[in-house]
Symmetry: C2
Subunit: 235 residues, 2 copies
């Protein structure tokens, strides 16, 4: 017997894979949605990178339905995303398009999966970004996409958003995550200010179990200092 069922959108990425591991270790059925499979997951839903938004949504929805065989989900956790810099001078459409696909397509598809397959009281967790709370002139496409995720989080917490009764929708806003790639590219940074992947996975696990839940629609900054992470609610 498992505790319940969760889906990790972006379950092949560094944070996503940690979440898959964490939930598996704690005896949950885990589905992974990503561009490639995560063999630790119970079910993999592979997204076609070249398909358009509507096709990706339909494909994911139908495969989620098949894989649940009538059950409902305790959590949909979207940690898919990416980063691109660039200002308005050059390649704005190209950069913004990529950011939109990586952060917003995954978030809205997670929202629709949540609206259709979450249990009452289930969790939908999305991933925003602290800098997008203000101006991001050097990474304009990234800022727009994350600002859209923030506003989506508020909308989904509103009345008649389509999510089930008593569900919780939140976005985490990490500053820097302690991933192998970040260690590689910023070898001289103060790792004590980076948030560990296990901390985030544990946080999602608590919220999924109904423990220490923040207010619905919260944007939650993960602020790490001296290897200790505080949750700071934005606004």
């Amino acid at each position: 017997m498992v505790n319940g069922k969760v889906l990790i959108y972006g379950g092949r990425g560094a944070l996503g894979a940690s979440c898959v591991q964490y939930f598996k270790k704690n005896n949950w059925w885990v589905g992974c949605i990503d561009l490639a499979e995560n063999e630790s997951a119970d079910v993999n839903i592979v997204v076609d990178r070249d398909a358009d938004w509507v096709s990706q949504e339909q494909n994911v929805l139908s495969k989620v339905q098949q894989s649940l065989s009538g059950d409902k989900l305790d959590a949909v956790i979207c940690v898919a995303g990416g980063w691109a810099g660039g200002n308005a001078q050059k390649d704005l459409a190209k950069n913004a398009d990529l950011m939109w696909k990586q952060s917003v397509w995954s978030s809205t598809i997670s929202a629709t999966v949540g609206a259709n397959y979450l249990k009452e009281g289930g969790l939908l967790a999305l991933t925003g970004a602290c800098p997008a709370l203000g101006a991001t002139p050097g990474m304009i496409g990234y800022g727009m996409a994350k600002a859209a995720v923030h506003q989506l989080t508020k909308s989904l917490a509103g009345k008649d958003s389509g999510l089930p009764e008593k569900s919780l929708v939140v976005s985490i806003l990490p500053v820097t995550l302690d991933t192998p790639m970040n260690r590689k590219w910023m070898p001289n940074a103060d790792f004590g200010t980076w948030t560990t992947l296990d901390f985030v996975a544990e946080l999602f696990h608590k919220w999924t179990k109904g423990e220490e839940r923040p207010a619905n629609g919260s944007l939650i900054k993960l602020v790490t200092k001296d290897s200790k992470t505080d949750l700071v609610i934005s606004e």
Copy 2:
């Protein structure tokens, strides 16, 4: 001799056509960017609805360059947009995709045109929406797109956004515009709370001439009561 050159993105729509008329009447060279031509404009740049974001950007940039024959622009005014309702239950990708194309593609392409062809001290005006300052659970795609335009406005006002020195970027946030379509669909509304198209066109004209300019990066609500419109700066 004309006063200078302005581009209206969405110059075939109700508000856009009013802006084209207003600037023409006041002796400006006016270019129109839209899905169809506005015969009052000096130059028309027709966007292919089926082209992708990058292709639309490149097409518009090259045609703007041709049409300016070495001159620079005094203003780029983007009033393109649309509206779609819908929550997370159904058709979110479809609705959000349309809203993104109508509001965000046009805004970012305007930003890149501005970065490359505005004069020092030129105006870039975009169009946001009051409701997207908060949650929009019944029109999720619309809210995300307009929230992205708001954040874009702030980013473009930031350092090294790519816009020329001393340029002004602002978004107007109309509540309801007094258009023929709105009169048709809401015949019993209080028209005294609707903002006239001429008021908005005149506002853009003043800002283009450098008069009564608000702070850079402002989101400006157009609040109309008893047929009088106040500008209310958000945040």
